[in-house]
């Protein structure tokens, strides 16, 4: 019954395939090739991120306006509890702006981590029907959150102006700080995406981890509390916390007269170091699992 097919001899097939230049399917590319592919697929990533934003907010009446309303509502709640009821303002003059900066900057990484956990497991349909470098999926999560961050920053600038800060050129320093934070978050997103693909239970645990992280990152209280309440070793560790570093850099850029947790040069060094470690480490870690995504 094999008239149309040439009867394949086991073992010969490898030779046949290589003789005609066929390549093994589903083989992981080299890391440099992989990084290049991810770059070549950038339009796919951005259009996936756009589609995702539209589909999550598409069902609501106010639509994209929620990009701005959500951080505004968040800031109001935290200000009510921590600024007015508990009074954690410490020695910070403009506590509302101080608090909002922390909340918005932290919320960016928090949402990235939460959604990236399901970047692979929630897109199995796409993964099983289309061939593209899978790192596009966690990166698309980062892009959707960059949009939300832009909305939050507009709100933040409004709050800062309303609380009496004059506009300064120094505000622009927030941009490189946020850019480094994006790289850091992208690395984290790729790590979480691979972990979440292997461990479906992770998405139940992540909200608790990120919340604990937020309480430890000087978002809701003045960072002088670290040195006042922690033993020196722990306080030093608290100052190296990447989220604290990014929040403090943005605070330093946007607010005047705010006591920072560490000297500026140390913050910039830590910010760049964390971005490098997480960005490269995340890509390598995710790339290593490239073949396993889609198995279930």
């Amino acid at each position: 019954m094999r008239e149309t097919a040439v009867a394949p001899e086991p073992g010969d097939l490898h030779d046949l395939a290589t003789r005609f230049g066929l390549r093994p399917a589903g083989v992981r590319p080299r890391l440099t090739d992989y990084a290049r592919q991810v770059w070549e697929y950038r339009h796919f990533t951005t259009s996936h991120a756009n589609a995702k934003t539209i589909s999550t907010l598409g069902g609501t009446r106010l639509g994209q306006l929620w990009q701005v309303l959500t951080p505004l509502a968040n800031a109001a709640v935290y200000y009510l509890i921590f600024g007015i009821v508990l009074g954690t303002r410490g020695d910070v003059g403009n506590f509302l702006a101080y608090l909002c900066t922390g909340v918005f900057v932290f919320a960016f990484t928090q949402s990235v981590v939460q959604q990236a956990t399901q970047a692979v497991s929630g897109n199995l349909g796409l993964i099983r029907s289309l061939r593209f470098p899978r790192a596009c999926l966690p990166l698309s999560v980062v892009l959707t959150q960059v949009k939300a961050l832009a909305g939050a920053m507009i709100v933040l600038i409004g709050i800062i102006r309303l609380t009496g800060e004059p506009p300064r050129v120094g505000w622009l320093l927030a941009l490189p700080a946020l850019a480094l934070q994006c790289v850091f978050s992208a690395g984290l997103a790729m790590v979480m995406a691979r972990l979440g693909a292997a461990l479906p239970d992770l998405k139940q645990v992540v909200p608790f981890i990120t919340r604990a992280w937020m309480y430890g990152s000087g978002v809701l209280y003045a960072t002088s509390a670290f040195d006042a309440h922690l033993p020196p070793g722990l306080a030093a560790a608290a100052h190296a916390n990447p989220m604290l570093v990014y929040i403090e850099l943005v605070r330093g850029a946007l607010l005047t007269g705010v006591p920072l947790a560490s000297p500026g040069w140390q913050l910039w060094l830590l910010a760049a170091g964390w971005a490098l470690v997480a960005g490269v480490g995340g890509l390598v870690y995710f790339w290593h699992g490239e073949r396993s995504y889609g198995r279930g």
Partner: protein, 253 residues
């Protein structure tokens, strides 16, 4: 003989095992705790050995039909050839990147048809300009706009047939060296079926190989001269369509 024909797909003793996460037999909290203590693997995760040692070679310009009863491993085989499911054992070799077009391949259900078309084109490696140019043709070929402006509605509002037509239109917007079609032609109406069979013939003419999985024996008979019959993950017959389909029909009756 082998020297005159150029192979595009070589499948060498392929085994595919995939994991299914689902509601297991023991889903109660107590059972979950017991699993945690005893360290036994979750009953909710089961392994399915869907393809068990399939070997085949497909050549340039061939259209191959794959038949088999439900759950025989046809779709899994296609996914493995497309490099979407990793092989547990054995190896698949392909020329270029095969493109799989499946009936249950969800694009993004909450996103409109035209945006899905752009997304699909970009995922197939087109540039943004090419993708934009291709979308009107895709929508026209799929015919989803024949009854009003459905292209801008979310895909979840489409009927099964409309969604399948759009997916086929997207995948066939670009010449592929190897095109894998999973049941896609079966759901369209008669007019679309004729149009898509025409498109399959065009794709074959541009030196591609088409592998078609279908329960519609008529559409296999019309498009494929070679057919493979798979049963329980094993290759049962491989030969001219008439002979294989005759054997398959007498088996499934």
């Amino acid at each position: 003989m082998a020297e005159t024909k150029v192979p595009t797909v070589v499948v060498d003793d392929l085994h595919v095992v995939y994991r299914v996460h689902g509601p297991g037999a023991a889903a109660s909290p107590a059972a979950g705790l017991r699993r945690l203590v005893t360290g036994k693997p979750s009953a909710a995760i089961r392994e399915v050995h869907a393809v068990r040692g399939v070997t085949l070679v497909a050549y340039e310009g061939e259209a191959i039909g794959i038949v088999g009863t439900n759950g025989s491993g046809k779709s899994t085989l296609l996914q493995a050839i497309a490099g979407l499911l990793p092989a547990a054992r054995g190896q698949v070799y392909t020329r270029g990147q095969p493109s799989l077009l499946g009936i249950n391949a969800a694009l993004m259900p909450d996103v409109s048809g035209d945006r899905n078309a752009v997304l699909g084109c970009l995922a197939m490696g087109m540039s943004r300009a090419d993708a934009r140019r291709a979308v009107p043709d895709i929508l026209a070929f799929s015919g989803i706009n024949e009854r009003g402006d459905f292209g801008t509605l979310p895909m979840r509002t489409y009927s099964a047939g409309m969604a399948a037509r759009l997916r086929f239109a997207i995948a066939s917007a670009k010449p592929h060296e190897v095109l894998l079609i999973d049941e896609a032609l079966a759901t369209g109406d008669a007019r679309f079926r004729a149009r898509s069979e025409e498109r399959v013939r065009e794709l074959r003419a541009t030196a591609g190989t088409v592998i078609l999985v279908s329960h519609q024996l008529r559409s296999i008979r019309d498009t494929c001269e070679r057919t493979i019959w798979i049963e329980s993950g094993r290759l049962r017959l491989d030969g001219p369509t008439d002979e294989v389909l005759a054997a398959y029909e007498s088996f499934s009756r």
